[in-house]
Symmetry: D3
Subunit: 134 residues, 6 copies
């Protein structure tokens, strides 16, 4: 593990409902409760990367490139969209915080140097934090 | 104006889209931009009431009654719902922050002592605060 | 009203219970519920003053003097104390947010230039804000 | 370690004083300073659990069951109580953040699947964070 | 006064020092203390406007136009600059919160409909809030 | 690793610019963009230490001693100073978050018991968190 980790925060607003495609409407309502109803959130996404400090620049990661990757691969796909119906890459999977954190990891990781990505956290509300370390 | 004002904060999560029923789809898209797409927010609602301090109890308002009124008249209607399609009382009006603040005022005010309600604020995201004083 | 208002935030931690000296134990328990039990809070106090901008210094209030007054007259009396039993100046009054805001106003106002004090807010928890304008 | 960790936040308000039963009053005052005086806090508790994602539901933990356990085993015992005198399970131990984090861990862990609990954090004030990993 | 007020938050990071051009170095050091030394802040600016709700759109202000005006007239001039040496429009005035709030008001007001601007707040640190209502 | 970790938060305000002494002015401007211009921040520093709980006191670290060390070794050197020109210990190194986190670690670690320091985080803005574990 590198001694240096850098975390950037990103925000997006999206609609969603929790729904498993393999369950009936009654089963979904029982399982997910009020989250089965279409609603939405202001999501906070934290992306943590590690890197080695370049002594010349004092920087351990190219945060501009990270921002561009997160914007293109995550925010442009989900911000001001309905996650449950308007995001092809999420089709057929319940849009739980767990699945979102994992999906965002899989979308971002290939665009970063191997091993750079350390953690993706999805904060759905202040009280609900989902962290994925792939 | 009373010397004492009390503010309570409430939270709900809801879906919505900005859409005016009198406009075409193209006009709505031009006017509201990305907010015309179905998305959602974690909303914060602040309700400010004034009152006279009861010297015996040291209290100027019945916050338990306020909470019950806000729960019944606002939160139960909007929390984990889609504001643009599943809230009859909002039907036909664009669900802007301005309209939400005004609607919540009109829903709550009759349940409080005359003149008690002073301000309803709807915080859609940290950067967008809508305040209504009826 | 002056065009300029300045607000400073202060923090203290204190114990308290809500209790009216004129009520029986049963009546206090019924009126205040769980707040009748000894507990405590991290309090946030906001003090807002108005002033005229001194063109030479660009300042409208002596914030150092304000800090010193609030420290001596409020924080030194209440920080890390039990408000309901260890603060003589609060003896016999229920330590509601309303009463605290009013008491702090009365303690601070005489130490400031006449008319300078505009607002004292006591934030007991994020969801409970009590404002007093004397 | 599982790739998925979920954190929930809980709040309670309580009184306390730092006091070691084996020390004299003078020794306690010297050791704990102003914290030996009865005071109180708004406490934030973070509980982190790990789990395996159920592909059907997209969930890695039963957050409803977690909430119920934390409510019954922690919040119902400490919220709006004085930690130093009214909580039998804390009797005789100094109510430092370290001891609270450890106690809450021990209260919660047996109610969760083996190995599920990963971290209990007690935030006494914004500046004081105590984390326990049992 | 309109019943509707809308507040937008903006952020910028800048260096500054408090220094009055009419005072000697010793006098500045005595007056401003450590703030006479070059340092800096993450500033938060709140801009509050009032407006009448357009029944067709449900909006009371053109927030896009407000954002563009604040960007062009405030943020582009001050973000990632040293306020005390690199902002011509602030030359010769001490860069206190009072003066910044007043300057930003004067820069923004002419770009908005007459009477629309209601309040400019400059938050230098969490504990220092300067509000100007011209 | 000890089961107990304690984190304290500290704040300071400072000016800086990103500049590598080995690069030309044009190269610095290209590399660091707007951060090459003198500006500033409200910095948040988190210091995490581990320790063993003393059963007598219930404490795992001497937070008073930690505060004193951080004040003397970090805050007194950087608060209300320009990091890029007025802090001898930072001379010649770019004042990136990476370098600051590493420098603060090196300044603090020798003053603490061996192995006690676990993490230094520098939060430059809400969106930029730099963590160093030496």
């Amino acid at each position: 593990m590198s001694a240096l980790e850098l975390t950037r925060q990103y925000h997006f607003s999206a609609g969603h409902r929790l729904e498993s495609p393999t369950l009936s409407s009654e089963e979904n309502a029982r399982l997910y409760g009020q989250c089965y109803r279409p609603h939405g959130h202001n999501y906070l996404v934290e992306v943590t990367v590690q890197g080695r400090r370049d002594p010349l620049t004092g920087m351990a990661a190219d945060l501009g490139a990270l921002d561009a990757a997160v914007k293109r691969l995550v925010l442009d796909r989900v911000d001001h969209y309905d996650l449950s119906s308007a995001v092809p890459a999420l089709e057929g999977i319940p849009t739980t915080g767990e699945n979102l954190a994992r999906a965002f990891w899989e979308w971002i990781a290939p665009a970063l140097p191997a091993g750079a990505l350390r953690r993706v956290a999805v904060v759905e509300t202040d009280n609900n934090i989902f962290e994925y370390r792939g």
